[in-house]
């Protein structure tokens, strides 16, 4: 299953709804291009909704890290929303769970972005 990304705006935050697999190849490229495009438009408050992401490999983890650092380097914030158990466990194992700001509730996540 390939990956899809769609974006929507809520209170100045860009929510990226991702579905599928973030893996080496297409999935990683879709994520990279989406974040690059948003940053190019000056949208630096990004909430990645991973609720429908079924699988991430090491390349996908690298892409999440890359997105996080790219957004931060532009003075923005990137948060993660609705991790599945698999993705949650993977971020725990790789010690990235505490690096990312992970949220369970969309409304709460949006208010957590700095104004």
């Amino acid at each position: 299953m390939s990956m899809k990304a769609s974006t929507r705006q809520v209170d100045g935050v860009t929510i990226v709804d991702l579905s599928g697999r973030i893996t080496l190849g297409e999935g990683s490229v879709v994520l990279r291009d989406t974040v690059k495009d948003l940053l190019g438009k000056g949208q630096t408050k990004i909430l990645l909704n991973l609720g429908d992401v079924s699988y991430i490999d090491s390349s996908g983890i690298g892409e999440l890290v890359s997105a996080f650092t790219s957004v931060r380097n532009q003075g923005g914030e990137l948060k993660l929303l609705h991790l599945t158990k698999k993705v949650h466990d993977l971020l725990q194992i790789t010690k990235l769970y505490t690096v990312f700001d992970v949220k369970d509730d969309e409304a709460g996540a949006i208010t957590a972005f700095s104004k």
Partner: protein, 149 residues
């Protein structure tokens, strides 16, 4: 206990081979009697081993291939992945959990293989590297197998 069996594939250095190997690993692990969570770990370890071979080893070179073997001997599932690349020294791969490496974009593949498998070995070949991944059935897997037969 499943009968010993061995199956080998010679795969092209493509992303498609990585995806196929992951699917094959899940099937083989299922037939071997591993539970769903363990199967997910095994197929991820095989995927990471294949990425290592196709991307870092053979560098997508169409003239080079990856030999993938699944072997079950008693309670052990043994997977070998051999590439034809320039080889590498696994000890030189930085620890991805070290604070200074946490935000690196790559370097987690070997760590994930080691996390999900009981044993991971590397062997330098004349041309390339062979990775051996071993996972052992636990007592509860064996009990479940006996109950289903």
């Amino acid at each position: 206990m499943p009968a010993p069996q061995r199956v080998s594939y010679r795969l092209e250095s493509t992303l498609d081979s990585v995806n196929k190997a992951e699917q094959m690993a899940d099937q083989v692990a299922s037939q071997a009697g591993f539970d769903e969570d363990t199967r997910g770990g095994i197929s991820m370890a095989v995927r990471e081993g294949m990425i290592n071979a196709v991307l870092h080893g053979n560098a997508y070179d169409s003239a080079k291939h990856v030999n993938l073997t699944f072997e079950q001997t008693g309670p052990e599932l043994i997977v070998t992945i051999a590439d034809e690349g320039k080889g590498f020294v696994p000890e030189e791969v930085p620890n991805p959990l070290a604070p200074e490496n946490l935000l690196k974009e790559s370097g987690r593949g070997i760590f994930l293989m080691r996390t999900f498998m009981d044993e991971v070995r590397f062997r330098k070949l004349n041309s390339g590297t062979e990775i051996t991944l071993i996972k052992r059935l636990q007592n509860n897997d064996l009990d479940r197998q006996e109950a289903s037969t």
